[in-house]
């Protein structure tokens, strides 16, 4: 649904202090204030968070799924970029 009066907004929630905001879904709203209120009502009914961001969906530039191979395939061939080849000293404990 594309309604010029009630555009789409993406909703991000910070679950608790110290964590980053995570995308949880979207709402329709006339402006940012209404989007925040709607996000609160739709996505924080079960104590999901302590902070909300709303962003106009149109402000997000997404990568083209058709470009997936050329954008992301090269990285899968470079396992040495993962830090799994290091031995973690015992003193570090859980990471």
């Amino acid at each position: 649904m594309t309604d010029p009066l009630m555009p789409l907004w993406e909703v991000f929630i910070r679950a608790k202090a110290g964590l980053s905001h995570r995308h949880v879904g979207s709402v329709h709203a006339a402006d940012a204030e209404m989007a925040l209120t709607a996000a609160r009502d739709v996505y924080t009914r079960r104590g999901e968070g302590v902070s909300l961001w709303v962003v106009p969906s149109g402000a997000i530039t997404a990568s083209d799924p058709g470009d997936e191979t050329e954008l992301f395939e090269p990285a899968t061939a470079k396992p040495y970029r993962h830090p799994t080849f290091y031995t973690v000293p015992k003193e570090v404990g859980d990471m």
Partner: protein, 236 residues
């Protein structure tokens, strides 16, 4: 010691239950998915308040009546809710206006009750204060959008405020006159921003607190109480 404190707490519980039930009638009918959940959230806040208040009223009375007995086994004349909260949902503007007029009273009322001598009531007020403040914010926001919106939404919002105005005086009876100045101020601020006209204070409806209700309450109770009346103590 059933009497004044019992009636007082029961009246507050009835306000919350009946208004919460009215909001529940919007389930599946709200104009937007977002508002569907918002109205249900407000309704559930109110029903939560009602449950705590019925528990407390039952304890004051001391006759073993629990939440269900008080909510489901009393007739309309024994309900002490404000006439405002039993008024029909009407259109969305009417529901918003009703909630706004009530929440503009409930927010300062619960805030003051947090410092009541009665510790149980003060405890219930602590949670209710945050809820009422949000209900007020949400409905004030909508009233401004509707009033300062299109010609159609403006007319509907004004008609809703005009129709409900005679039910607002009852909130300030029974010792609540001191909350009037803050309510007047909230109403004035929001109505100006909403480009709506404050109706003149004329004759005011009264009687809800003493069990004299509009015809609407009977229909609400018929739906609300049917199951417990037909199958007392039904469990599933």
């Amino acid at each position: 010691m059933a009497g004044a404190p019992f009636d007082y707490v029961l009246g507050l519980a009835d306000d919350a239950l009946i208004l919460g039930h009215r909001l529940s009638e919007w389930c599946g009918h709200a104009p937007l998915l977002e508002e569907e959940l918002a109205l249900a959230n407000i309704g559930l806040d109110l029903i939560g308040q009602a449950r705590a208040l019925y528990d407390y009223a039952g304890a004051i009375e001391g006759k073993g009546r629990d939440q269900d007995a008080l909510a489901y086994r009393r007739d309309a004349a024994q309900f002490g809710n404000l006439l405002l909260v039993e008024q029909p949902n009407g259109d969305f503007a009417m529901t918003v206006a009703r909630q706004f007029l009530y929440s503009a009273f409930a927010a300062p009322f619960w805030r003051e009750t947090t410092s009541a001598k009665d510790a149980t009531l003060a405890g219930i007020a602590t949670e209710a204060t945050h809820q009422a403040a949000y209900h007020l914010r949400h409905t004030a926001d909508w009233l401004i959008r509707l009033g300062d919106g299109t010609e159609e939404s403006h007319c509907r919002a004004q008609a809703a405020i005009d129709a409900l105005w005679p039910y607002t005086g009852e909130m300030f009876e029974s010792g609540h006159a001191s909350l009037r100045p803050e309510w007047d101020k909230t109403i004035a601020t929001v109505l100006v921003e909403a480009t709506l006209t404050r109706p003149k204070d004329g004759w005011m409806q009264t009687g809800g607190r003493s069990g004299r209700h509009s015809e609407h309450l009977g229909y609400i109770l018929a739906e609300l109480q049917f199951l417990q009346r037909a199958y007392p103590d039904a469990k599933w």
